[in-house]
């Protein structure tokens, strides 16, 4: 078979795939009799009302000297790890807003970081294509630097995102510019499985983000520059469980919905979308029309603990809080006076849901918490509000309480 013949067949096959994809889209549209907005309206859901002071900045974490690229909270205890282009990881105590560790990295071009579930170690990855693990308890060397406790090397492109498998300190999933995601065994430092790549059906461009299902840690989604998101099962590395089309630009961020049946995406096309992993349908698009100038990219997203709110950071410095049900912008934190001065590059919700942390290219991190005086329907709600305030606004540094944003 000659090369030209092969090429022809390839072109034909591509066309077929495209037409099938189009038909699939049509079919899905037919099946989609309603979207969340209409359904929610039909159910008589009212939009979340949010006053301008309901979510206020209560801490500013200063200390980085470069653009902040990534952050992660610990599951318990209010600690944050952040990665910045100054080549440092900083571990913060979010309540006191003090640093507890400043880790100088061997490679300054770090793109992602993650806290281990037990809070004993942090992982980071970047342009050096290696995911480095630091044990926070290990002794520092003579220059006061924390040594790398393990290097997970094997990626052939930059490490764009990493996340620990919930409740397992020994497993970690990374995504990379080499179009693959990898599940690692940290104790051995070896790849357990590789998702995607040359010989398997996987992403066809850089993978930018992963998110592991909180309720079923075998499932995770990945978002990629091929403008798709894919759902993977860690037991079946050979192929993606499902591919989610819809975005018209690189998918920069993916995040599982708290219930584990849906996930959200944020993309260069300026939209956030909500997909259902069971049906494969796109449930909702979140897009704010910006006028005729350039569409800002969505850099990072996070859901509130109930899932009713979607926080999305944009490349122009906007920071919207969306009502996920009604697809309405409830608040733009980026327009507040004390907001970040530059693009918001990462966000994360604390595990208890009481606070949101944002990292920005202006080198600062900010913690946002509920600061309003709203009456809640039930007594518990009121109580929680007060507790949130206690924790984040007063100096009760040691209050440990279950407090929820929404």
């Amino acid at each position: 078979m000659s090369v030209s013949e092969l090429k022809e067949r390839h072109v034909a096959a591509t066309e077929t795939v495209n037409s099938l994809r189009e038909r699939l889209k049509q079919k899905r549209l037919l099946l989609l009799d309603t979207d969340i907005v209409r359904y929610a309206r039909a159910q008589g859901r009212s939009p979340v009302s949010f006053g301008p002071t309901d979510l206020v900045c209560c801490r500013t974490l200063q200390g980085h000297t470069g653009k902040v690229y990534s952050l992660d909270w610990t599951p318990e205890r209010n600690r944050i790890v952040s990665a910045s282009q100054d080549g440092r990881l900083i571990v913060w105590n979010a309540l006191t807003s003090q640093k507890t560790h400043a880790i100088k990295l061997p490679c300054a071009w770090v793109m992602t970081c993650a806290f281990s579930p037990a809070g004993q170690s942090v992982a980071c990855g970047g342009l050096d294509s290696v995911c480095s693990i630091f044990n926070l308890n290990s002794p520092t060397d003579k220059d006061g630097n924390l040594p790398v406790s393990r290097m997970l090397s094997g990626h052939k492109g930059y490490v764009s995102s990493c996340q620990y498998v919930p409740d397992e300190d020994t497993h970690l999933i990374t995504s990379s510019g080499d179009q693959t995601c990898v599940l690692w065994d940290i104790t051995t430092g070896l790849r357990t499985s590789v998702f995607g790549g040359e010989f398997q059906s996987g992403h066809t461009a850089d993978v930018l983000s992963v998110s592991i299902n909180g309720s079923n840690s075998r499932m995770f989604v990945s978002g990629s520059c091929d403008s798709t998101a894919r759902l993977w099962d860690t037991r079946v590395a050979s192929r993606a469980v499902r591919t989610f089309h819809g975005h018209e630009g690189d998918v920069n961020a993916v995040k599982f919905f708290p219930d584990g049946y849906r996930f959200g995406t944020g993309s260069d096309d300026g939209t956030c979308r909500l997909f259902d992993i069971r049906t494969g349908h796109q449930l909702q698009v979140y897009y704010q029309h910006q006028g005729d100038n350039e569409i800002p990219h969505v850099t990072s997203i996070a859901f509130s603990i109930s899932g009713r709110l979607l926080f999305a950071g944009y490349s122009n410095g906007d920071f919207y809080v969306w009502d996920t049900l009604l697809a309405e912008v409830v608040l733009n934190l980026g327009s507040l006076q004390n907001s970040h001065e530059s693009r918001i590059s990462c966000l994360g919700l604390s595990a208890d849901g009481s606070a949101l942390c944002t990292g920005s290219w202006d080198t600062n991190l900010k913690i946002w918490a509920f600061g309003g005086h709203r009456r809640m329907h039930c007594a518990v709600g009121r109580f929680l509000c007060i507790l949130v305030k206690l924790v984040w606004f007063e100096n009760h540094v040691n209050v440990l309480s279950p407090v929820i944003l929404m």
Binding site: C57, G63, A102, M111, S129, S153, K156, A205, N338, G371
Partner: protein, 922 residues
């Protein structure tokens, strides 16, 4: 002649002169640019009896009150006495709004004072500090005009404010230190305190105003704080007065909650003296990125008397925070840039230090202890160091190039005995006498750093001062210093400067980053390796060499595999051809040729065939790396046999037909037998040739400094600066990092981008991302375009490296450059008589290769200019020749230097004094 005349009959009053040339100068009308008409000139130097300079004026804030809104028109009209009245407003103004307006008017006054050069700046408190300003007037007037420019921006749009802030801050930094030097010139600390208290003419009530707004709700406090923050910071930079917080509450209470009394435990801000109780300290000081400072004081230099307490933790903090947190705060406090000793405060031998000098002083092997702002003397020959007017306190490293020449009266001695040109004190004389030095007749000594001394004008060393037993005791008794240990020689010091660990903030500032990018196969890795070999004392560690060896060996197996694949193909082809021939021949000779027909020159024996099949199979399955190093041991003899086989040799002869085979492979294949031995040690040249050696994972970086050549040995501040500067070469592989260049924005702080293009690519084709067959040069061009136009590199300098000139020179003789569409208009004018290349390079007619290289550079320059409107630097390089790469990288350094010297209006990269860490990039 104005150009208009040629096309207009209607301009009949002027016609073009066509007559014979005239012998005299024709008067010309100079076009007037309305915007550039000089309105008012700055008064010249001579009016000032003393050195007077004026503080830089910052742009005014758009005030909430339009009537008070200052603009550039009324600047000159504002009479000086207004200042006083405005001042009064400030001291009584209870709310921040009025204060704001008043302050902005106040600046205006300063501004007017500047323009009229009256020299009377505001009130007495200010003028006392104004007198002390150093620096030339000319400089300031430039800055001033700059800020004048800014003002209009300010007024028109509030949005610009943020962006201008950084610019202005760096403008102001120059002036910051001298103004507050008032207090520090006089060494005594008491005086400093006293002056500090007197000096402030304006105080800023940021603390209270923050509290005033939101005393009740915690969240609001933060709002108030941060809202005001920017404004006050801006203010403070201009009116460089000591920051002083003022408490609204009763004396001794906390500055934030107004509770408590003077006996409650409080933490003090290092800058403004504000005191906070344990409840408020964390809120008022935030995350303490620079140690214990109020949130509003972050970025300001500390109050000098408090320098001693840097890094010393109070009990309160220890109680409030855990151990790790406290440690981090103290570390930040000691090491952050804003808290470092400002070099202008330190005078050595009567001259203020510049930044580099201070760094040299602090990083030398024997640094002065407890350096405080003040006047010091330093004896460069012996390394003696002391406070001005006092006996020596320490012996530091000698021969440091800091400060001016030592003065005779530096230590205020009256003994008439001179040591290295300094009149020594009585105590020293006593010590010398005890050391057995003959001091009769008021001799002048030369004392070296090792303690050897000689009389002035004589050559022979007379002895060692500290050599005698018991001298240590004597010195301790007289509280004089002794040399701590044999000090290093000067040469060692220069070297150790590079390897020494420097504080982080310094490292950031002295590190210049060069980003090296290029399309696949453009030779970026060769240049990177070459730089490593050039500038590193140990280019590759043992481990690296071992890895490189394995890489090279597996590469060679790969090349062999390609050869074998080719052999298969050739065999099939020749068999097919043979069959065809046979079938045509068959009619004539029905002979028994079937035996020979299976044998072509490309056939190999069964054993080699088995090996070849195995190798091809491993290659296809993609785990070639997995078989090492076992394969080397096992197959080395086989490889030897294979390589010597006629079939392989004949395939190798046809290597031009094998597209997969890279051009470097012949270098290795010809030595395949040697390389595949287990005891093979790669040479530097092997490493240079090898593919995939520098971290295949996308990014490699190399910290280096250009070695000082013997010629620029002489000390010169410029050179010193250079010695501190370190460079970082970052090599990025486009392949490993995806086509979307998502990572590119991480490199916005690099000083320059070096873009590598392989010149010999012009006739090569490869499959691009869309699956079409494209010229590699065009792909390079496309990549170049995408990098150059990337928003991250908007103002970046680019250096184009035209690599592989050696290959190109050779190739252009065979393949015309017009092979590539982009170079279709290359029509070189070449003399026909070119007897041989060697002689040709000597006489001046350039070779075809040089012409081609020049043409290509021009092509890229035009492309660059059309894309960005700026100038592209280009350099032709042979990646395999060290000198060539060295020259290109030195050229890069020159470009960076030019950049710094360029007059720059944004001034944000006014590097050494800027507060931003990585401010080299525009």
């Amino acid at each position: 002649m104005p150009p208009d005349t040629e096309d207009g009959v209607q301009y009949s009053f002027a016609l073009e002169y066509t007559g014979p040339p005239v012998g005299y100068d024709i008067p010309r009308a100079v076009p007037i640019n309305v915007n550039k008409i000089p309105v008012a000139a700055v008064v010249s130097h001579i009016n000032f009896p003393q050195k007077i300079t004026v503080p830089v004026v910052k742009p005014l804030l758009p005030s909430s009150d339009p009537s008070k809104n200052p603009n550039s028109v009324n600047i000159g009209e504002n009479p000086g006495k207004d200042c006083g009245s405005e001042e009064a407003v400030i001291t009584v103004s209870p709310t921040s709004v009025i204060e704001r307006a008043a302050d902005s008017n106040l600046q205006e006054c300063v501004f007017s004072g500047e323009l009229s050069s009256s020299g009377l700046l505001n009130d007495g408190g200010r003028s006392s500090s104004a007198i002390e300003f150093s620096g030339s007037f000319g400089d300031k007037s430039r800055d001033e005009s700059l800020s004048k420019l800014r003002i209009s921006n300010e007024l028109s749009s509030n949005r610009d404010w943020e962006s201008n802030e950084s610019v202005l801050s760096s403008v102001d930094v120059d002036d910051e230190y001298p103004s507050s030097r008032v207090s520090s010139v006089k060494v005594s600390n008491n005086e400093v305190n006293g002056e500090g208290r007197k000096a402030p003419a304006v105080t800023f009530r940021d603390i209270e105003s923050g509290d005033g707004v939101g005393g009740d709700a915690g969240g609001d406090i933060d709002d108030g704080f941060e809202g005001n923050e920017g404004f006050f910071e801006e203010e403070e930079r201009v009116m460089r007065v000591k920051r002083e917080a003022r408490s609204k509450g009763k004396k001794g209470s906390c500055y934030r909650c107004f509770k408590g009394n003077r006996f409650t435990e409080k933490e003090v801000c290092l800058v403004c003296d504000a005191k906070y109780c344990s409840n408020c300290v964390l809120r008022a000081m935030g995350s303490m990125p620079e140690g214990r400072k109020c949130v509003t004081c972050i970025g300001f230099p500390i109050d000098e008397p408090k320098r001693g307490s840097l890094g010393k933790c109070s009990r309160m903090l220890k109680r409030l925070l855990n151990d790790l947190e406290v440690r981090q705060i103290m570390k930040a406090e000691k090491l952050c840039e804003a808290n470092q000793l400002p070099p202008e405060y330190v005078y050595v031998n009567g001259e203020p230090l510049c930044h580099e000098e201070l760094v040299i002083l602090q990083t030398c092997s024997n640094p002065p202890k407890k350096m405080k702002p003040g006047n010091y003397w330093y004896d460069k020959v012996s390394g003696l160091w002391g406070k001005e007017g006092q006996k020596p306190s320490q012996i530091i490293s000698a021969h440091l190039n800091v400060g001016g020449p030592i003065k005779g009266d530096a230590s205020d001695g009256n003994t008439q005995v001179f040591m290295n040109g300094r009149e020594i004190t009585k105590v020293e004389l006593r010590m010398l006498q005890l050391a057995g030095v003959q001091c009769a007749g008021n001799p002048h000594f030369w004392v070296n750093e090792d303690g050897s001394y000689q009389e002035e004008g004589q050559k022979n060393t007379k002895g060692y001062i500290w050599g005698k037993a018991g001298m240590k005791l004597v010195c301790a008794f007289l509280s004089l210093p002794v040399p701590s240990k044999p000090s290093n020689s000067c040469g060692e010091q220069v070297n150790s400067l590079i390897s020494r660990s420097v504080p982080d903030y310094l490292e950031q500032r002295t590190l210049l980053k060069l980003l090296l990018v290029g399309y696949n196969g453009s030779g970026t890795s060769t240049i990177f390796k070459q730089a490593k070999i050039l500038y590193k004392p140990v280019p590759f560690t043992e481990d690296e060499r071992e890895n490189i060896k394995l890489t090279i060996q597996s590469n060679v197996y790969g090349y062999l595999g390609i050869l074998l694949e080719g052999r298969d193909r050739f065999e099939e082809e020749s068999l097919a051809a043979m069959k065809k021939e046979q079938s045509t021949d068959e009619t004539e000779t029905i002979g028994s040729t079937s035996n020979t027909s299976c044998q072509t020159i490309y056939s190999i024996g069964p054993r080699l065939k088995a090996f070849s099949d195995w190798l091809l199979k491993t290659m296809v399955s993609g785990n070639l790396e997995a078989i090492f190093p076992a394969a080397t041991r096992e197959y080395a003899p086989l490889v030897e046999e294979l390589w010597k086989d006629a079939a392989i040799q004949s395939t190798y002869k046809r290597r031009n037909e094998l597209e997969m085979l890279p051009s470097v492979s012949s270098y290795f294949l010809e030595r395949a037998v040697d390389i595949l031995r287990t005891d093979y040690e790669p040479s530097d040249l092997d490493i240079l040739y090898a593919e995939g050696v520098t971290s295949s994972n996308g990014l490699a970086c190399l910290d280096f400094s250009y070695p000082q050549s013997a010629s620029d040995d002489k000390y010169d501040p410029e050179d010193q600066h250079d010695a501190l500067l370190r460079y970082q070469l970052i090599s990025v592989h486009a392949r490993g990092l995806g086509e979307n260049c998502k990572w590119l924005e991480m490199f916005e702080d690099v000083g320059m981008v070096i873009f590598c293009v392989a010149m010999s690519d012009y006739d090569q084709f490869t499959v691009d991302g869309n699956g079409s067959y494209t010229n590699k040069m065009m792909l390079s061009k496309k990549f170049f375009e995408s990098i150059v136009t990337h928003p991250t590199f908007e103002q970046m300098d680019f250096l184009l490296i035209l690599n592989k000139f050696d290959l190109f020179e050779e190739k252009i003789e065979r393949v015309p450059l017009t092979q590539c569409d982009w170079f279709h208009d290359f029509l070189p004018l070449i003399s026909r008589h070119r007897s041989n290349n060697n002689s040709n390079s000597i006489n001046n007619s350039p070779s075809l290769g040089q012409l081609g290289a020049h043409y290509m550079a021009v092509k890229f320059k035009r492309l660059y200019a059309s894309l960005t409107g700026r100038k592209l630097y280009a350099s032709v390089v042979k990646g395999l020749e060290p000198d060539s790469v060295d020259a290109a990288l030195k050229y890069a350094r020159e470009i960076l230097k030019w950049d710094e010297e360029k007059p720059n209006f944004s001034l944000s990269e006014y590097s050494m004094y800027s507060t931003e860490a990585s401010s080299y990039s525009p």
